[in-house]
Symmetry: C2
Subunit: 246 residues, 2 copies
């Protein structure tokens, strides 16, 4: 199985995703939030690039979620903290979400056969889904404003490590950036939280009062669920759906 | 001290190098070759981007060196293997060198105050030189055709590690990519040669019969010499020169 790891959205070319599975990773915080919302019973997440588009798609009963510069968008129901997307708030609702990087990454990946949302929370499940979907796979680290973010690279490294655990070393081939991210993850795996506090987004989160979000986003493999894009909305991947894709 | 690590030449913007020290790293093989040539008594290396430019600058007594697609350029005296640049061949001579990535990286860095050539061979010396030259520093991983190469990232990680050893953890600040490369180096440091054999250029070298070059380029901190660009040629940095730059 060939897995390419891409360092940030700016380096991604949509046409390279044709016929592939793309796992979009934005650990702090978009994909961690999407996963949390869906496992808490949210009906679907609609990722959009702009505030205007979010407002256009809004229908009564929906929730508007998103951030710009780490802050909730004025007039929106929710920001981009996974801790806001509780069962009480999101169960049975559709959430229209716009964030600076993660939702842009999902939009960029639209040409792929399958678009999944990955984070540390569901890395093992992402590896299993990628295997089940039987495509060459790209891990697209969202990064921040077209610059690499360490937490996304660590997650890519963990997904690679889970793929190697599942398939064996010989059956997982990756690019040099993937090799680097796997090494980087293996070095940091016992100190993930401390490592996330040293990186740009971790420091920014703490400064903005979101340290609890970093704690939440650092949890590893706490769910076996994987969000997948169906038409224009993210829902939980069903195993039968994976089977259909063979 | 702030150290930015840039993943490949395509990501580098010349204007970002103003007033800085740039350490260009192309472990396999251009900067390893430049270091080897200069410590073997080569008078100067003139890095140029094209074969035409190399031939234009040639004067009697010079040597022409370089590669395209790992192979020696027809009519040139030398390829791009550090093992060719022995004392017997290069002592007292000027070498005009053109390679696919490394010399391009040096050209790209021209706007910097100081341009150094770094590799695993002289990583500690590069860290010491960067400290002595007292500038914000960029480690420019040359990569291969605008794609990240693992061996350059490992070298960036080692240079960072040497900076931390010299200055202390608190006095070395790097970007997220630098943090990742440092982690990646620390994971691989006891198996550098084996790791280099798994990456794209390592595999390409072995396939082309240059495995001995990989062995040679993997040697760590075997010299305290650092090539520096003076006008349009690389020579060994003299300590007094470092002092002049303060």
């Amino acid at each position: 199985m060939y897995i390419e790891v891409v360092a940030n959205i700016g380096e991604a070319r949509s046409d390279d995703f044709l016929h592939k599975t793309v796992i979009v990773v934005d650990v702090i915080r978009a994909t961690s939030t999407i996963i949390t919302a869906l496992i808490n019973g949210c009906k679907a997440i609609i990722p959009v690039e702009t505030v205007l588009k979010a407002k256009e798609l809004y229908r009564e009963g929906d929730l508007l979620g998103g951030e710009r510069f780490c802050k909730k968008i004025p007039g929106f129901d929710l920001g981009n903290s996974p801790l806001e997307f509780t069962k009480e708030v999101v169960q049975g609702k559709r959430v229209i979400l716009t964030t600076t990087n993660g939702t842009r990454g999902i939009q960029k990946a639209m040409k792929a056969d399958h678009v999944l949302a990955g984070a540390l929370l569901n890395s093992k499940a992402c590896a299993e889904a990628a295997i089940a979907l039987k495509r060459d796979t790209v891990i697209l680290c969202a990064g921040t404003q077209d610059v690499f973010s360490l937490e996304d690279g660590l997650c890519a490294g963990l997904i690679l490590e889970e793929l190697v655990s599942a398939l064996g070393e010989k059956h997982v081939v990756t690019n040099d950036f993937g090799l680097a991210m796997r090494g980087c993850y293996l070095h940091a795996k016992n100190t993930l939280y401390e490592t996330l506090l040293t990186c740009t987004n971790g420091k920014k989160m703490c400064k903005s009062g979101f340290q609890a979000d970093v704690v939440s986003c650092t949890k590893t493999n706490i769910t076996d669920q994987v969000p997948i894009l169906e038409q224009d909305q993210m829902v939980l991947l069903q195993l039968s759906q994976g089977r259909r894709a063979f």
